[in-house]
Each structure stands twice: as structure tokens, then as C-alpha cells.
């Protein structure tokens, strides 16, 4: 413990090359988990051995999921993966860059419809171009939504705080109106249209195959995409762009004084966030297979706000946790009627229905987390970790 490890003579570039992305293993002194001997180690994504082991275990479990659980649960997990991408996007603009956006549903909708139009049946009732290749429509959905975010961002650079929140709320209502009325694209209220058709390297992902079922294929696709998007977001967050985001969030004028361009940073934040939302929207409705224009309302935006608040503001892993929590919540509440007889499972009958319980739970969870644990599930994890790190001392 007391011996110091001599720093070996290696150039920085060599260290960086060797260490990415796990940090240089050889040069970490044994038994000193918090001692970093190079910048690359400090900035590494998985900078400690327990983190490497834990992430490895979680990934292993995630990949093994298709063989462990039933298909309907797998579809739900696929949804959660897609929702995670959207939550990460919202966290980039609201958590990291501090620009409150209630307009996430609008960008989700743009992504969903762009993808649906590009992959849709050319001879169908609604507009479609029949290009079913997943990378093509996913990128297009992200880019169109990102462009919409870019168009909105001049408002963000002129407005601050609550004015921005209300304006983004207005976007949701305008978006809802457009989605409702443009029935050529959206199929109209109450009718809707089929979601994007996914096809990757000639494999139809939304049909049962010989080896994998539809849900297994979709889940694995969403999992891989989530990994890519999460890694990308994490790298944005820990690079110069991400530090500019945090500077703008913490004190925008001070950030401007030290040379961070507010307009540019806010534009990047909105564009990247909307790109994520667009991709998430496209993927969500690939899993459900059906898009209804009424879905992109204020409640959807609130759900995404709830995801990042419950998961943890300005954390990527927190966004994923929150998205899984909110997506799996209905599944849990659906079980309530069998346990508590005064809750009914349909909305029409008297008494309390599960849908009401669900909505109340969203509200109560948001309030509860904000009052008692503002850092969300991620914060609970940090507290537990710190407790055991310092055990048996209290701090």
C-alpha cells in the first residue's frame, strides 16, 4: 500500500492508444483504486475493475435475455431500449445543457413518421417509399428530427428558463395538430398507419424467422442500437462539446465570458437531442408496429421528463434506468387488480382503474423523487455504493 509505483517512460499517445477504452491496466497501482497515473486513465469509460466486471455481467445478462424470458416481455424490453435512446436525447438537452424541453414528443413524432413514410408500402393507403433498410430510415428519421431541432433552436438561444419550457410545450400542441391533420402521412386520428418496416442485411426483423422469433430479433437489434447510442452520448458528454453543455447549464453568462458560444452550444444541444428523439421515435413504433397521431401529446413528453428525473439528471446510465423503469411500470400496475380488488382493470367501470393508478404513479413518482432524491435512481445507487465503499465508517 505504501510503495509508490514508478511511472514508466511511455509517450502520451502510446498510453492513449493502449488504454482505450478501458484504461491502462498494467500501470494502475494495485490496491489503489482511486489513484490515476495518467489523464487517459482518469477519463476512461470504465475506470475501475468493479465497473468493468459489472458492465460485462449486465451485458452478458442482456444478451442472454432472449433465451430467459417470454416473447411478450421481450417486446417490452425492446420498447424500453428504444425509449432509453429517447431519454438519453432528452437528458443531453435538459440534463447536460440545462435547456428545459417539454417538446420531446414532437421530435419523437417527426422521427416515427419520417421512418414510417420511407419504409412504408408504396401502394398503401398512406404515403410510403418502400425503402425498408433499417440504417437508411433510422438515419433519415434522426436527421429530419435533428433538422427540426435546429429550426427550433433560434428560439432557445433567445429565450431562457421558463419561457423556453412554455414555448416547447407550444411545439407539442402544434405538432399534435399537424400530425392529426396531415392524414396523407399519418393516416388520421383514430386510424393511424403501420410503423416502420425493419430490414437488416436482407433479414426481415418484424417477422418470425427460422432461428429467432420476431421479438427476439427486435430486442437484440434495439439492444445493439442502444449500446451504440449510449456510448456515443457518453462520449459527447465527456468531450469538449459536453463540457460546453455543462458550462451553459451551470452559468450561461459565465460560459459566454470564457468563450463558449451560447448560440452554437444550444443549437448543437437541440440538434443532437432531437436526432436521438427522432431515432427513438422510429424504433419505438417499429416494435409496436403501429403509429396513431394522437400518441404524441403532452403526456408523452411528461413521461420522458419523468424518465430522466427518476433515472438521474445528467447521467447516461440514469436515463437508461429511468426509461426501463417507466416502460416496465405499466406491466407491474396491470397486476394490481388481482392483488387489490378495489382497482378495476377497465376504464369504463366505476372505482379506480389501472390507467388512473398509472397516471397518479407518474405524478407521485416525479414529486417524490424531486423532493427526496433529486439525483434519481442513479443517486440511490451512488449512495449505496459510497456506503459500502466507506464501510464500516459512515463517511
Amino acid at each position: 500500500m505504501t510503495t509508490t509505483t514508478p511511472v514508466t517512460e511511455t509517450s502520451d499517445a502510446e498510453v492513449r492508444q493502449r488504454s482505450w477504452p478501458f484504461g491502462s491496466r498494467r500501470r494502475r497501482p494495485a490496491g489503489r483504486p482511486l489513484l490515476y497515473t495518467s489523464y487517459a486513465q482518469d477519463m476512461a469509460l470504465l475506470n475501475t475493475r468493479p465497473k468493468r466486471i459489472a458492465v460485462g455481467a449486465i451485458l452478458l445478462l442482456a444478451v442472454a435475455m432472449p433465451f430467459l424470458v417470454t416473447d411478450d416481455l421481450l417486446a417490452l424490453l425492446a420498447l424500453a431500449c428504444a425509449a432509453s435512446i429517447g431519454a438519453i436525447g432528452l437528458n443531453l438537452v435538459t440534463g447536460y445543457a440545462g435547456q428545459v424541453s417539454l417538446g420531446h414528443a414532437f421530435f419523437l413524432g417527426i422521427g416515427a413518421y419520417t421512418a414510417a413514410v420511407i419504409s412504408g408500402d408504396p401502394d398503401g393507403r398512406t404515403l410510403g417509399f418502400g425503402i425498408t433498410s433499417l440504417p437508411v430510415w433510422l438515419l433519415a428519421a434522426g436527421l429530419v428530427a435533428g433538422l427540426a431541432g435546429l429550426v427550433v433552436s433560434p428560439l432557445a438561444s433567445r429565450l431562457r428558463g421558463l419561457y423556453l419550457a412554455v414555448v416547447t410545450l407550444g411545439l407539442v400542441f402544434l405538432g399534435e395538430h399537424i400530425f392529426r391533420e396531415w392524414s396523407q402521412v399519418t393516416g388520421g386520428v383514430g386510424v393511424g398507419r403501420t410503423g416502420p418496416v425493419p430490414e437488416l442485411f436482407g433479414v426481415q426483423l418484424n417477422e418470425n424467422g427460422e432461428i429467432f422469433t420476431r421479438d427476439q430479433k427486435l430486442y437484440l437489434t434495439m439492444l445493439i442500437l442502444l449500446l451504440i447510442f449510449a456510448l456515443l452520448a457518453r462520449n459527447i458528454a465527456r468531450s469538449a462539446v459536453g463540457r460546453a453543455f455543462s458550462a451553459v447549464r451551470d452559468r450561461d453568462i459565465a460560459a459566454e465570458v470564457i468563450g463558449v458560444s451560447l448560440t452554437r452550444t444550444k443549437m448543437v444541444a437541440f440538434a443532437v437531442s432531437s436526432f436521438y428523439a427522432g431515432c427513438a421515435g422510429a424504433l419505438l413504433y417499429t416494435v409496436t408496429g403501429y403509429v396513431e397521431p394522437g400518441a404524441f401529446n403532452l403526456l408523452l413528453s411528461v413521461q420522458y421528463i419523468a424518465m430522466i428525473l427518476i433515472g438521474g439528471v445528467a447521467t447516461i446510465s440514469g436515463s437508461i434506468l429511468g426509461a426501463f423503469f417507466i416502460t416496465l411500470l405499466p406491466r407491474v400496475t396491470r397486476e394490481l387488480p388481482s392483488l387489490l380488488p378495489f382497482i378495476s382493470s377497465t376504464s369504463g367501470a366505476g372505482g379506480i382503474s389501472v390507467f388512473q393508478v398509472e397516471a397518479v404513479l407518474y405524478g407521485l413518482l416525479i414529486i417524490g423523487f424531486l423532493i427526496f432524491e433529486p439525483r434519481g435512481l442513479f443517486g440511490i445507487w451512488i449512495r449505496a455504493r459510497n456506503y459500502w465503499k466507506a464501510w464500516p465508517f459512515s463517511y
Binding site: 428558463g161 421558463l162 419561457y163 414529486i367
Partner: protein, 295 residues
């Protein structure tokens, strides 16, 4: 001409609903520096009580009880959920009001039920002839009642000690506290006033069409009104509310002929378009105070 006058009267009537709601938003903003997303919940909570009481005690008494109930509910919300959050970031408190809104509205929806509830107002859809033009009584009544309420509110702020205390607290909280003003009372009172105004607005909104589970969305249309006028301006709220009402009314009347490609019901979202346009030109609304930026 008749259509034009009807649009004006209808716009002023609906505008007065937005004025009442916008005043609630502005009063809470001035005291606590937050936009309360719980306004829709306060509105439907008071209005649903009115719809239950109107059969037994008559319209005006029911409205009065509804106003008092929503005021009490506003105070209760402020005291339990928001008082512990004093000093926390604004965004956090705003999201808490959003959570409260969802919870309260779900409970109220249980009382509204699936069908439309009537508030039993004395006007209905009947019209009165003024200079030969048939105009709806309820719009005229709304405009007059709102004018009276707004005048009373302005007088309260201008001439009463409590009103002066509220104005002082909105200028500088710490200085007001040093002068012996109880900030807690100011907070509670502003939520009570906002709740009462919201109930009156909700009752007006429910005349004619009635109250159903979708009525709450009307309260959010007051948001363009306060953004138009500026978040911290009472006069701005009045002008913004009337503007939103008139814009909506005119778009509803003439859009079918002039711009049918905008789609049905464009009138319902036209306030948001106006809001976006105004904000691009004037970021703090028409009458809002620009923030002084200090490092």
C-alpha cells in the same frame, strides 16, 4: 357584419376565460418565480364541485363555494408540496407542479366520469339582440364579470395592505421580509387567488359545452397569453388573454375561407403560433421585464 361582431363578442368572452387563468399564472409567477402547471387541475377541481352543487344551492352560490374550495386546494398544494422546495432550482419546482397537476386531475376525472357534466349556468346558448345583432348572452356575461373581477383585483393590489405586501414581496423578497411581511402568507394567498380565478374561468369555459375530461386543456391556452404579455405583467396578462381569445375566434371564423389548407380546428392551436411569432421578436413578451444579466 353579424359574423364579425359575433367573432368579436365570442373572442372577448373566451378571452376573458384566458384572462382569468393568465392572471392566476402571473400572480403565482410574481410571488414564487415559477410557472405553475397545476392551474388546469385547480380549474377542473373547482368546476367539478360547481357542477355537483349547482342542483341544490343554485348557480352563483355553487360558483362561490367552488372558488373557495379551489382556493383552499391551492393553499394546501402550496403548503404541502411546494413550501419544502423553497430555494431549490426553479425547474424542479415547475416539474413538481406538473406532477401535482397529473395527480389531482386523475382524481378529479374520477368525479367527472365518462359523460359531460353541466354547470347549470343561467345563460345557456340563448342570445340577446343588441343593435339588431344576435349575440350570445354568456359571452357578454363572461366579459362583464371578468371586467369586474379584474378591477377588484387591481384595487386589492393597489389599496389594501395585503396587496401592497404582495407587490413588495414580488419586487424583493428579502427586503419585504425585513419589513415584517410574511412571505408564507404571500405565497399561500397567491395560490388561493390563482385557484379561485381558475375556478371562475373553468365555470365560464363549461357554460354551453359543459365539463368533460378534456376541458383542462383550455387552461394551457392561457400560457400563450402570459408569454405574449410577459410572465410578470398583470396588464400583460389581461391584454394577452384578450388577444388570444380574439385570435382564436377570428381564425375559427375566417380560416375555412382564407386558408383551408391549415386543417380543421386550427383555431385551437393558433394561439401557440402567435406566441412563437411574438417571442422571436420580443423574447420577454410584450410587457415583460427583461432580465438583467450579471455574471
Amino acid at each position: 357584419m353579424t359574423e364579425f361582431l359575433q367573432s368579436v363578442v365570442g373572442g372577448l368572452g373566451n378571452g376573458s376565460i384566458y384572462v382569468l387563468l393568465a392572471l392566476g399564472f402571473v400572480i403565482i409567477y410574481k410571488s414564487m418565480r415559477i410557472v405553475s402547471f397545476a392551474q388546469p387541475a385547480l380549474m377542473v377541481a373547482g368546476t367539478v364541485l360547481v357542477s355537483y352543487l349547482v342542483g341544490s344551492v343554485g348557480f352563483w352560490l355553487a360558483v362561490l363555494i367552488g372558488i373557495l374550495f379551489a382556493a383552499a386546494l391551492g393553499v394546501a398544494i402550496e403548503r404541502t408540496a411546494l413550501r419544502p422546495m423553497i430555494g431549490k432550482p426553479v425547474f424542479v419546482i415547475v416539474i413538481i407542479t406538473l406532477g401535482i397537476d397529473i395527480v389531482v386531475r386523475v382524481i378529479v376525472n374520477g368525479f367527472i366520469g365518462q359523460e359531460v357534466r353541466q354547470v347549470g349556468d343561467p345563460w345557456g346558448l340563448s342570445t340577446v339582440d343588441i343593435f339588431g345583432f344576435p349575440l350570445q348572452q354568456r359571452y357578454l356575461a363572461m366579459t362583464i364579470v371578468t371586467a369586474v373581477v379584474v378591477t377588484a383585483l387591481l384595487a386589492f393590489y393597489r389599496y389594501s395592505r395585503l396587496g401592497l405586501a404582495m407587490r413588495a414581496a414580488s419586487v424583493d423578497q428579502e427586503a419585504a421580509m425585513a419589513q415584517g411581511i410574511s412571505i408564507g402568507v404571500v405565497f399561500a394567498l397567491s395560490w388561493a387567488i390563482a385557484g379561485g380565478l381558475a375556478t371562475l374561468a373553468g365555470t365560464f369555459a363549461a357554460t354551453g359545452a359543459g365539463l368533460d375530461q378534456g376541458t383542462w386543456i383550455i387552461a394551457l391556452k392561457a400560457l400563450p397569453a402570459i408569454i405574449l404579455g410577459g410572465l410578470d405583467s398583470v396588464n400583460g396578462a389581461v391584454i394577452g388573454g384578450l388577444t388570444v381569445g380574439l385570435v382564436e375566434s377570428f381564425v375559427g371564423a375566417y380560416q375555412d375561407d382564407l386558408a383551408p389548407w391549415l386543417g380543421d380546428n386550427f383555431a385551437a392551436v393558433s394561439p401557440y403560433v402567435v406566441m412563437l411569432l411574438v417571442l422571436l421578436v420580443r423574447p420577454y413578451g410584450l410587457f415583460g421585464t427583461p432580465e438583467v444579466e450579471r455574471v
